[in-house]
Amino acid sequence: MPQILLIYLISSLAIFILPKWVDERKPILLGLINLGAFIFFFLGIPFISGQIQYTRFISWIPEIGLNLEFVLDGLSSIFALLITGIGSLVFFYSYRYMKGYSRTKPFYFYLFLFGGAMLGLVLSGNLIQLFIFWELTSFLSFLLINFFHEKPEARRAAFQSLFITVFGGLSLLSGIILIGSDVNSYSINVWIANADIIKASNHYVPGLILILIGVFTKSAQFPFHFWLPGAMQAPTPVSSYLHSATMVKAGVFLLARLSPALGGTFEWTHIIPLAGVITMLIGSYFAITQTGLKPILAYTTINALGVLVLLIGIDTKLSIKAAMLFLIIHAFYKATLFMVAGMIDKKVGTMDINKLGGLLKYLPITFIITLLAVLSMAGLPPMLGFLGKELIYEAKIQSPGIANLVLFLGVASNVLMIAVSLFFVYKIFLGKPQPFEKKPNEKGPGFWLGPLVLVVLSLFFGLFPSILGSTLVESAVSTIREEDIIVKLKLWHGFNDVFFLSLFTVILGFALFFLLIKRDRLLARWRALNRSIFKFKLTELFDNTMEGFVNFTTRKSRAIQHGYHRYYILTIILFTSVLIWYQVFVTGGFKLNASFSLDPFYISGLIAVIISAGTFSIFAKTRITSIIALGVIGYGISLIYLYYGAIDLSITQIIVETIIIAMFALVLQKLPRFAKLSSSITKFRDIIVALIFGSVMTLIALRAIDIDFLDPISKYYIDNSMIKAFGKNVVNVILVDFRALDTMGEVIVLSIAAFGVSLLLQSKTGKT
């Protein structure tokens, strides 16, 4: 299995180096590669009945539980087949569809890699590995939705989808890590084996919620569903792929995958169905009022995802069975319908249902295809969709928990779905013929071949459902439920509750449909009603929130990075003072042993001179006096050094002080006079700050003298200076021998400073 992913990676990279004659046909080639992978998984079906799984383990970073595990079992097999199968059809389709666009190379690169990432996702047996593929699909879909990137809407939609899915992805990652820390592994099999520990842990509920946020964002569940309609900004093949077999199905997959490990609890059977049922209703409700083909389909996808999530959340044998079947059904009809929509767009030039109509005359084959797909979507016989709907009803009836609500809303949503489906096909192919600029025709099988294959399959499985039931669905359900389950599917169940419920739904659906087509104004009113009830759209809410946040941070960053040099300094000084004072209090730094003495008096006097010179220098009115006072301080300090036996230091201090004063005086001639720039309140505040800082420095300096952990290392220098370094001046020996590296650094600082000074002052630039 890893080899297949490698093939995907290599062939996607190979797109960039194809010779010209292959390059023109690269979608065909990529479709064939997908087909090959499909055949591989198809041939594998007989080997993975029931709970049997094939795993491949590659150690990656085992220390942090990150390994490559590939699992092929019933569940991943269904998904892999859908991804590769529909993938190959999508590529064949886009050979026709994408003709005439420039820069298709990156497009195919992303699309193919997208398929590969999705395949990697469903084959992952390690949750972190799964997350990696999960994020890859998010980012690749971002790049795909951005195909028409010069349109602002496309950029906006791409960004929304990315932001929402990455938000979910990060939340998913947190959830995985949180729960993974309980069992010390991210391997799904380990999680399943330790399901009891996980469910008993404190981390279970927060972890589950985080994971569910991930699932809900990816699978477009309420309230994160709004990115999905935007994603139709992508070229149609992408939408077709994204809605049917990839991306949005990732969440469903993960939910199914984790249900043995996390499922069955109160939280699981209540949160998930609730989200599912709301999403289902929203999807079908808004589908009706859309005017574009793609938006209609997008909302029906939301509906389908709601159904899938609901079914997995109900978490019974029957509901899982229904979910797996519906997964396949939905993939088939949704891929078909998107391809049809794209085809109509290409042939007629619009996807607005109000500008479409009467296409039956021109596109009979397409009509049949669409009709069959739509029947499947509406859940009408003889299509596979019918079977699915029956099963879903059965599962809903038998569901524990919030069954009544689920059933009621389920019927309502199905009524809407039937109406939408019929409306869809009616508006395009029947209805009023519209004047088209160019006469559409059926030329070129490239457009309808893929959809045809899918509807034929859908019909075939609808008539002979047991073929599907006893193989794929059965092993997937067995995998999820962790027990061997026999699945028998048949089209006709007899006259039971479910049948009558279906009949009821169909009648209502047809009634609604007729109402819609007979009363044009009804729909318009409905739309108006929606607009007034749902004042804000979630997309706009999202945009406004983002914008509000950006504005907030703009103001905030202005406030923080305000540009006033002295307030930066003030902040730093205050921060330091607070930290140090805090530590002084904590460590009881007030107990000092040092005694205050004024002896010898001349040093005391010297200090008094320095302090008064300092005060003078601060408050001096002219610059030159200020600087002279500064000199007094410097020379005074050098005398202190001298008193404590630091001759070299003292000389150096004097010379350095002299140079600084001289330099200062040199430039001072050109610098302006002191201006009175600060108010007295500012001055007072600054004095307080300065005193806070100065006093704490005094305090800790005294502390430092008090504490001595061990004898200083200096004795070594005195002992060895003569013997080993042949110098009597220990300070100098330290400078040039013991710690010569410091001196070297010091000299380099000086040299660079000198270069810098000459550079600054010589450069003639400036005055800009």
Binding site: L666, K728, N729, V747
Partner: protein, 137 residues
């Protein structure tokens, strides 16, 4: 500043300062002084010269190149490092030779001394450079 008195004084002060700087450098290992102090003094001597005669004299007429001083100084420092390595020992290891000179008596010369001379040159260079750049304005 083209004071005549200053110029006359400079002829003597210059040499005195230079000699003083050299003494500080050489004695540095045993008595107060050393490369840094010596270098500063020498630098001051040259600056004094500049004050007296106009700074151009330093840079143009005498062709004193402060960057060159710095370069030479750093090179000397590097050479003193290199000795330790070349002699197969660790970086900066002091290598000493003992000279018996007739007049000065026994004199110990070692790589730390080269290091100190390097510092001396760098400090001369930077002092002049500082001065020149500020003065040129």
């Amino acid at each position: 500043m083209n004071s005549v008195i200053l110029q006359i004084a400079a002829r003597y002060v210059r040499w005195m300062l230079l000699i003083f700087a050299l003494v500080a450098l050489i004695r540095g290992h045993n008595y107060p002084g050393g490369g840094f102090i010596g270098g500063l003094l020498a630098g001051l001597a040259l600056i004094y010269d500049g004050f007296a005669f106009d700074h151009k004299r330093i840079s143009k007429k005498r062709k004193i190149n402060p960057v060159g001083y710095i370069g030479v100084g750093l090179l000397l420092i590097f050479i003193s490092l290199l000795f330790g390595i070349l002699s197969g020992d660790v970086l900066m290891k002091g290598i000493w030779i003992s000279l018996n000179l007739p007049l000065l008596g026994q004199l110990k010369l070692g790589t730390p001394f080269i290091f100190d001379i390097g510092v001396f040159f760098v400090v001369i260079g930077i002092t002049i450079l500082f001065f020149l750049s500020l003065k040129r304005r």
